[in-house]
Every structure is written in C-alpha cells, then in structure tokens.
C-alpha cells in the first residue's frame, strides 16, 4: 500500500520536530511551562489564570535568578487526562525545568501523580484546589502556594453559628470534589460549634431545574448553605424566590460572585448579609491588595475583569513563588524545591508559607454581601482568618480519622 509512506514520512517529520526542539536549549534561559484550561467550560477561568501568571512575569521582566525566562503555555480541557498529556508535553518534549499549573481540582490530582515520575522537575500548582493533591500520597516535588477548597471555608462555620445565630442549616451543593471540600470545611467548624445539618442535597453540575430540590428542603431550618457556581447559583436563587422561600443563604467560595451580585430579582435585598469565605476578597482595603488590583488594571489585558479573579490570584501567587525562589537560589533549579518548601512568600493577600505536605498556609477572607451607597451589592470583608492550615484546626490524627469530604462525610444531623 502506497499510503503507508505517508505514515512513514509523518513519523520522520515527528522525529525531526523532536530533535529540533531538543537542540533549542540555551544556558542562560530557563524554560517554565504554564498549564491552564483554555478549552471547554472553564476557558474564561483559564484565561484569567494566564493573566495572573503574565502579570507576575512582567513584574519580574521575565528574568529571575540572573536567567531569562521563556514561558511555554499549554492547555487542557479541564479533564485530568488532557492535563496530564499537556504536562507531559511540556516536561518531556519542551523540557521545561519548572511547571506551573493546572487549574482545576481533579487535574491537580492527576498532575501530582505525574509529578512523581519526573523528580527532576519542579511542579508548582496553578489554581487547583483539591484536598487530595497534597494530603493524600503527596508528590515530593509538587508545591502549592494556594489553598484548597476546605481551607477556603475557614471561619465561616463559626461565624454563622455565633454571630448570625443559625443553628440548623440545609446544604445544596454541586456533586463533585470541590463542593465536597467546601462543605467539609464549613461543617467541621459549624458542627463543632454545635450546629446541625439535617439535610444535604447534591445536584449535578449544570442543573437548571431546582424545583424538586427546593420542595425537599426541610422547613425547620435557619439558613441554606449554597455551594453552586455561576449560572447554577442564579438559577437556584431565582427559583427559590419564585417558590416563596424566605430563608437566608450562606455562600460557597464561588457562589456569591459578580453574576449573583448583579441579580435583579425581587429578593435582591435578601442577598444582603449573605456570608461567604474564600482566598480573595475584591474589596479588601489593604495596600498590598490595592496595589495588586491596580497593577492588574494597569497591565491592560484583553477581556480582563475589573478586579483580578480567584484564578488570576492563584496563578499570580504561585508564579510569584517560583520567581522569588529562583532569585534566592540564583537560578539553580536543583536547589529550588528545598527553598520553596522553607520560604515565606509575601502575596497580595498576606504572607504564605508551606506546611510539611508543601501546601499553602494562608489568610482566608470572611465576607458578607453589603449594599454600597450607589445601591450596588458587593462583598464586604468581615474578618481575615490568618494562617489557615489544611487540617482546619484539627490535629493531623483527627483529620485523618475523619477523612476527605464526600457526600456523606462529615455528618451532624
């Protein structure tokens, strides 16, 4: 068959490409691979993550530790297998010394597993926030200067029980690992304070019709904890309003965002006072944060948000960690890992250091929806919880006994 020749020539072409890339290595440049989700449902988040990375790089003039930095980007679709394929391409084909990424939780777990097979490469997280990435069977060369989904809930459970006086809370959350972690972070504190969670409802991602969920909500509750993202949250809020619901809400980290705050329904005012917790707060009045927001705006990225989002922040912090680390070790990547593990990084949201699993210990913000003078809703910072660890104040043994958040863990009915 003649066509086999095409196969042959394509193979040769492929091998030629391989050798081409391998030769283009320079002593004074350092290759850093950046992996984010630039395809599929999370594209917008991935682009914001890339903006955060780019901002940190620009502030460092693309140099660190006396070396010029060459950034090689790669994209995944949000699926773990595509993330590993992209990471493998960056590491084995483009020969990057450091990899920053990925974006979402299950991708993070997959890339962490891959990191174990490449001990010479330094892996630094992008914005993925799964607990397992650093808690379960961590990779020695995977560093996360951002925090996980359970950490993001820090302070919320205690606050709603003590200050808001909610004793019984029902939960409506999306059915995957990130909300599990968020709910766990919330419930650890809430149950410890004495609160009860009589009902948890897990809905598939992208649910449009919440009528059955709303009908099943128990009546004798004080509030509803809602961990839904984007349009799911808007759908739930409006349908809850239409069905005559009148309970106050508690928000997950990605629930009360700009789409929800610009909500126009009748119960708009009912959103005021909705508490939530997360790794960033748009309106935190702090010089470092204000400078970060100003820099982000001054960078004039295409399609940028008014303020840097959660993903831009995470990629910014992790990139910053790499650059600061490289400066400290004078560009010697073999020493970078040890330095990253011991350094304290100053970020726009306060100092971050790593725990023994190389996971970030950082500030978490407790916010509440408030109405500004011009009638707009915004998230007001109520409290900053400093140095939140991955075990959320529990001892390591206690946390291990409890295990990761799942649909049924923890419980306090």
């Amino acid at each position: 068959m003649k066509p086999t020749k095409i196969y042959f020539s394509a193979t040769v072409l492929g091998m030629a490409l391989a050798s081409l890339n391998a030769t283009a290595q320079d002593q004074d440049t350092l290759k850093i691979g950046v992996l984010a989700t630039l395809e599929g449902a999370l594209t917008v988040s991935g682009q914001d993550g890339m903006r955060g990375m780019e901002l940190a790089m620009r502030q460092h003039d693309f140099t660190a530790g006396g070396k010029k930095i060459e950034v090689i980007r790669a994209s995944s679709t949000g699926q773990p297998d595509t993330a590993v394929n992209a990471a493998r391409k960056l590491v084995e084909q483009d020969k990057v010394a450091i990899l920053i990424g990925p974006l979402s939780g299950s991708e993070g777990i997959a890339v962490k597993d891959y990191a174990k097979t490449q001990p010479g490469v330094v892996f630094v997280n992008g914005s993925s926030a799964a607990q397992e990435t650093t808690l379960k069977d961590p990779a020695p060369n995977f560093y996360r200067f951002s925090t996980d989904g359970a950490q993001w809930s820090a302070g919320l459970g205690t606050y709603v029980y003590k200050d808001k006086g909610y004793k019984k809370v029902a939960i409506v959350a999306e059915d995957y690992s990130f909300p599990y972690a968020q709910v766990q972070g919330f419930m650890i504190e809430f149950c410890k304070a004495g609160g009860k969670v009589p009902d948890k409802q897990w809905v598939p991602l992208g649910t449009k019709d919440y009528s059955s969920v709303i009908a099943k909500l128990p009546t004798e509750i004080d509030a509803i904890y809602v961990a839904l993202g984007g349009s799911d949250a808007v759908n739930f809020f409006s349908q809850y309003e239409q069905s005559g619901g009148d309970k106050p809400f508690i928000g997950g980290s990605i629930t009360v965002d700009q789409t929800v705050l610009s909500y126009k329904g009748k119960r708009r005012d009912a959103l005021i006072g909705t508490p939530a917790a997360g790794p960033t707060a748009d309106n935190w009045d702090n010089p470092a944060w204000n400078k970060f927001v100003q820099d982000y705006r001054d960078a004039k990225f295409d399609n940028a948000y008014a303020t840097p989002g959660l993903f831009a922040h995470a990629y910014y912090v992790n990139t910053k960690a790499v650059l600061a680390g490289l400066d400290a070790v004078k560009g010697d990547v073999s020493k970078l890992g040890a330095h990253l593990a011991s350094m304290t990084l100053d970020t726009p949201t306060g100092p971050v250091k790593l725990d023994e699993n190389r996971n970030g210990v950082a500030n978490i913000f407790l916010t509440e929806v408030a109405k500004s003078d011009d009638g707009k809703l915004y998230n007001k910072v109520v409290k900053v919880t400093p140095d939140v660890t991955q075990t959320l104040g529990l001892s390591k043994e206690e946390f291990e006994k409890m295990g990761f958040g799942t649909r049924t863990n923890p419980e306090c009915k």
């Binding site: 066509p3 095409i6 196969y7 042959f8 980007r73 679709t77 773990p80 391409k89 084909q93 598939p204």
Partner: protein, 372 residues
C-alpha cells in the same frame, strides 16, 4: 449462511466491480483486488507488484518496530502509543462506516464501557467500588461487555439509515455520558476512577513508554490485519454488498440486519480492546473520556484519515494527536484550536476522502498510467 451463498456473494460483488467499476464506487478497487489476490499471481507484472507490496509492508513494520529506539519517551508514549490506541478505536468506526456504511458515533461510548469495566472489576483508587479482580479477568470482562453493548446498540440502530443512525448512536453516547456522570454507586460520578494502570508481566512494567508502545503496536497490527482479512472474507464482501445495495442483498437471500449487527459486534470488539488500552494509557477514566467531544473526535480521526482503508484510522489518529500537541506552539495564544479546526477543514476541502484520498490523488497525477 451456507458456503454456497458466500461464494455467490463473492462472485456477485466481484462481477459487479468488474462490469461497472464507476457505479459500484468504493467497493470496486477493494473487491477487485481481493478477487485477483485469491488466485495465485501468474503474470510477472502481478508477481513483482506483490513483491513490492511485501517490501513496503516490511519497511513499515521495521520502522514501527524501530521507532521507540529512535524517538524520545514523549514521542514513543504520547504520540506513538496514543495514536495507536485512538487509531484502534477509530478503526472500529472505519470498519463500520467504510465497509458497512453505518456511521456510528457511539464507538467511544463502547470503548468507555470497556474502560469503566476495567476500573470496576480491576484495581483502582476507588476501593469501595472496584472489585480488584486480576487484571486479565477484568480486561476480558471489559472486552466481552463492550461486544455485548455494541451488539445491543447494533440491534437498536441497524433498522435506521444515514443520519438517523448517527442520531441514535449519538443519543446513546450522550445518555451514557450522563449516566456515568450522575451515577455514583457504579460509575463514581463526575470523578470517575483513577490509578488504572496496565499490569506488570514477568518484570516488564507495561506502564513504561516502550513496553506500552509495543503492546499497542501488537494489538493495532492484529486489529489491522483482522479488518483487512474480514473485509475480503465472504462476510466482509456481503457486508459491503449491504452497504451498496441493501435491497438487492435482501433479494438475494441475505439477512441484512444480521450482517449489520455482526459488523457492530466486531467493531465493538475493536473498540472494546481500544478502550482497555485507553484507560491503561490515561491511567484514569471519568465521564469526560466519553463526552460528546470525545465521541466526535473519533469521527474526526476516521474521516481525516480516510474511510476507504483501515490504514486511514491510524493515519488520522497520528495527525490528530500531532495537531493536538503542537498546534499551541504554532500560535502562542488562546487561538490554537483554530489551527486544529483549520487543518481539518483544509484536509476535507481538498480531499473528501481524507488523507488517504489525498495520497491517491497525488499518485494519480504522478503516474497517470497506473491509475486504476
């Protein structure tokens, strides 16, 4: 089917091809060559052609065998092995669509069923679901389940034609996607299964790039040979008959539906084996593995490669994987999907038969005398 009927089918198909090659279209070169092949090569011209063909096969085989020694681990595993694995799955569609005239979008679903079976019956990180049976048993069950599923899909879809077959198989594929995403007791929902690695056999870890490449290569070669054999066997000829004129085949006494279902079952076997390899390659499976994008990717691979010949599936997979990996280097922006889409569009505009058709066209221009 009696032997008599098979022979009859072969004669009819072969005669049809010889009498009016223009009308019987795709089937003509295949069966024509097949028919001449069954006789011993008598003329010197035919003999030398056969020799050249053997030499070509040998050359390709040597290149394929030597490839991992020349290429880096990345090219062996991510480009080589992944192309072979996706090629096997696309081959099942090439067989169905090219020889049976049935475009099924559910081939990735069948591969996914096999993959999920490997995860559920074998070892995985989700210990509360996985039964942790030995790998060979899990793989065997996976392939059997894939064949059963393919047969059932065949049963449902064979009575439809053209776009309706596509719609039905797409519906089945999407339904399966949502089932796996929303069912937690068996499929572990959105998260799926991880840590699904190929076994270690007598010290050789099949997870390593080179052993996995050779494993995929062996299976791909067997699958390729099987399809090549089958399409020239009486069953394959009859199947091509049903593709070209189902009514006539029915009038000749063939059970068209049975042939089509059998074709689905065989394609299911290929897809199932491909599915087992795919989860071993990825080390994980989740609903995204069998989502709509994945279903359509298989169709893209088969079509850009060319549906006329089993080789097209592998060729298409190679081009697809190369584009997927390197398009982002061509445009260093968030627009690299444009390159991928553009390349597919160009291939299809200039050659509706895919890359194989393009090659045939070039060869025709170079050697007009040999054009068949």
């Amino acid at each position: 089917m009696s032997a008599n009927r098979w022979r009859h089918a072969m004669d009819t198909a072969g005669a049809g091809a010889r009498v009016k090659p223009g009308i019987s279209g795709r089937i003509a070169p295949q069966s024509g060559r097949g028919a001449s092949h069954t006789r011993s090569p008598s003329t010197p011209d035919e003999r030398s052609r056969l020799q050249r063909k053997c030499a070509r096969y040998l050359a390709v085989l040597v290149i394929l065998l030597a490839y991992p020694w020349l290429a880096s681990d990345f090219f062996t595993f991510q480009i080589g092995a992944q192309s072979l694995v996706l090629g096997i799955i696309a081959l099942s569609l090439t067989f169905l669509a090219g020889y049976g005239g049935m475009v099924s979008l559910s081939q990735m679903t069948i591969a996914g069923i096999a993959g999920y079976a490997v995860a559920i019956f074998g070892h995985s990180a989700v210990t509360q679901i996985s039964l942790a049976w030995p790998w060979w048993l899990a793989a065997l069950i996976a392939v059997i389940l894939a064949v059963v599923a393919a047969t059932l899909i065949g049963l449902i879809s064979v009575r439809t034609d053209g776009i309706y077959t596509i719609m039905i198989t797409l519906a089945i594929g999407v339904a399966m996607f949502y089932l796996t995403q929303q069912n937690y007791t068996i499929f572990n929902g959105f998260q799926g299964f991880s840590n699904l690695f190929p076994p270690e056999i007598s010290g050789v870890n099949l997870k390593d790039p080179m052993p996995f490449y050779y494993l995929s290569l062996c299976i791909a070669l067997v699958a390729y040979a099987a399809v090549k054999y089958l399409v020239r066997a009486p069953f394959g000829i009859a199947l091509q008959g049903t593709r070209d004129n189902a009514r006539r085949m029915r009038a000749l006494g063939f059970n068209v539906a049975a042939h089509r279902i059998a074709a689905h079952a065989f394609a299911g076997l290929l897809a199932g084996i491909g599915g087992v390899l795919l989860v071993w390659y990825n080390g994980r499976i989740s609903p995204g593995t069998i989502g709509t994008t994945a279903l359509i990717n298989v169709l893209i691979i088969a079509v850009i490669g060319g549906l006329r010949h089993p080789l097209g599936a592998f060729l298409g997979a190679l081009v697809f994987i190369l584009l997927q990996n390197f398009a982002i280097d061509l445009i260093d922006r968030e627009r690299f999907n444009l390159v991928i889409g553009g390349a597919f569009l160009l291939i299809l505009i200039f050659s509706p038969d895919g890359l194989l058709g393009l090659w045939r066209r070039v060869r025709g221009l170079l050697h007009p005398a040999r054009k068949q």
